[in-house]
Symmetry: C6
């Protein structure tokens, strides 16, 4: 896998949030490397309320890390 | 998507809590971008006790981040 | 909604724990604003062991925040 | 409810772990105040592997707080 | 119960990881003190993928605590 | 089990993320030591959306630890 994570620094909190989303997706991607399988599974969670809350939670955990890495963009 | 997160700073803890709610919802919104689908799913979790606890937990994780960013409004 | 969270400071750890409970409940309240619906759902989680553990976990996450805000009442 | 949490300080890590257990149980106790109902629910989680793991997780979250409050008993 | 947790300090990160496993198991052990029952439940989670992920998560939460207690073995 | 975790330091955030994945898998490996059983369980979670999100969450928790250990690669 090529370089995809050079730094945790971002210009703004919003970019930090989007980096958190990338990290959450990469966690899935390393576990299930087949893009085809992941695509097949999309309807399973995209239209399930708890699955979406769960995805949001993983983003929240990563956003803690990214925010700390950026000293909360103070 | 336009700018929606300029800063983690808020005037009061309550505004910080409300920002945490926004962050939790944005995590869902990025994962399921269709407002129509999200609306369809509302009854699924709004009237399910565990789903509400789950939503509350994601808010709690984000509130940790927002509170730290504001030095706990000390 | 009126002011309900002015400060994270509490006199004692126990009051901090009780504030964590309030925060957990507010997370539910913002997601499901109808007191009537919330009341209807009480039996669903009040007599389910895992639901109670789940509620306890959200309190635990908020208690981390409140404890840090109070410098652990040292 | 009488005073049950005066301090997060403990003499040893083990006492800190046991305080974390108390905090996890109190989170349940505030949510379901009836000792009778809680007793009735014990078999539901005491003999379920995931429920026990879940209980262990809430203890883990509280242990983070208690350990930080004690500066990790360094 | 005899003394089982004297210190959070370990020589290496790996020993710290193994201490985190001990802490996760103790959380279960305090909740279900019967070794016989716990043994009976082993097949329930040892051959269930999500149960194993769940067990791994509790270890991860404790490893955060142990790693902080050891200043990340820097 | 031989030495597998000498240090939490990594050269880059990406290597830190990959270490977090290793830690998450080791948590499973210590709980279910049989490689044969773990292999048998792979289809159970590799093609289940929530199981993949769950795996991603455990990685996120470990990534917090690894990132802090590396002072966020600042």
């Amino acid at each position: 896998m090529s370089d995809w994570l050079i730094s945790l620094k971002t210009e703004t909190p919003q970019e930090g949030f989007e980096l958190a989303i990338t990290l959450a997706r990469k966690g899935v991607g390393y576990t299930q490397p087949s893009a085809e399988v992941r695509k097949k599974l999309r309807p399973e969670y995209e239209e399930n309320a708890d699955s979406l809350t769960f995805a949001s939670q993983v983003i929240a955990v990563h956003f803690q890390t990214v925010a700390a890495a950026n000293n909360y963009w103070k």
